[in-house]
Subunit: 102 residues, 2 copies
DNA sequence: TCGCTTGTTCGATATTATTCGAACAATAGC
DNA sequence: GCTATTGTTCGAATAATATCGAACAAGCGA
């Protein structure tokens, strides 16, 4: 497990952010990170295989939504809320504010 | 050309809206509609084939972002801004507020 | 009715995403 | 070093999207 790709704020693209959040699994991850502050990958799988979760975390990282840091053998994830809010003011707040609908 | 599928406000899903707007062509359409109020399909193709545009307008319609009405032989499109803002307050505004980046 | 214009629908292709098992990598602890 | 834990990467199968030509549909006007 090595270095992760974290785009700088200026490289965050709106389309990528929207695409990343258009997936129910990833949206769920983001909602949980928003309410819990930070969490490991394992804490956020909903019983899904590790490889699937790793894929989704990568999409979230590379779109600039999530920041991952190593913490022992596990990876701690947190939202890049400030970065996103600087680049796209109000966007993430509006998305998180939207009540999850079934 | 017949009736179009326009979901009611309560059927608009966040994932569908985000997915619809994650495409550059559709995002561009939405931006133009926001600045011009309404427009026909032809006015918004960027030299793209009609069938491609028709596809994108359908995605925008079925996700609840755009409302299309018949106007003679042409179709007039407008944003469902109020509907969207009621369901997801601030979302579309935040997206439109994001400066288009190259 | 015949054309003309505007879009939709169909069908086929190409690209991109998702999913997940299996193998691998890195760290911590014994 | 060995083992267990946590994720990543690889590879392949499946599914979803995008793109666009060609055919079709509907309204308008001569």
């Amino acid at each position: 497990m090595r270095q992760f790709v974290h785009p700088s704020s200026s490289d965050i693209r709106l389309e990528s952010v929207l695409h990343a959040l258009s997936d129910p699994v990833r949206l769920s991850i983001v909602r949980q990170l928003a309410s819990e502050g930070e969490a490991t990958c394992a804490a956020l799988d909903g019983g899904r295989p590790k490889s699937s979760m790793s894929h989704h975390f990568r999409i979230l990282r590379e779109s600039g939504i999530v920041k991952t840091r190593n913490e022992g053998t596990s990876h701690m994830n947190e939202l890049r809320f400030e970065d996103l809010d600087n680049v796209f003011p109000g966007l993430l707040a509006a998305i998180l504010n939207a009540a999850p609908r079934v």
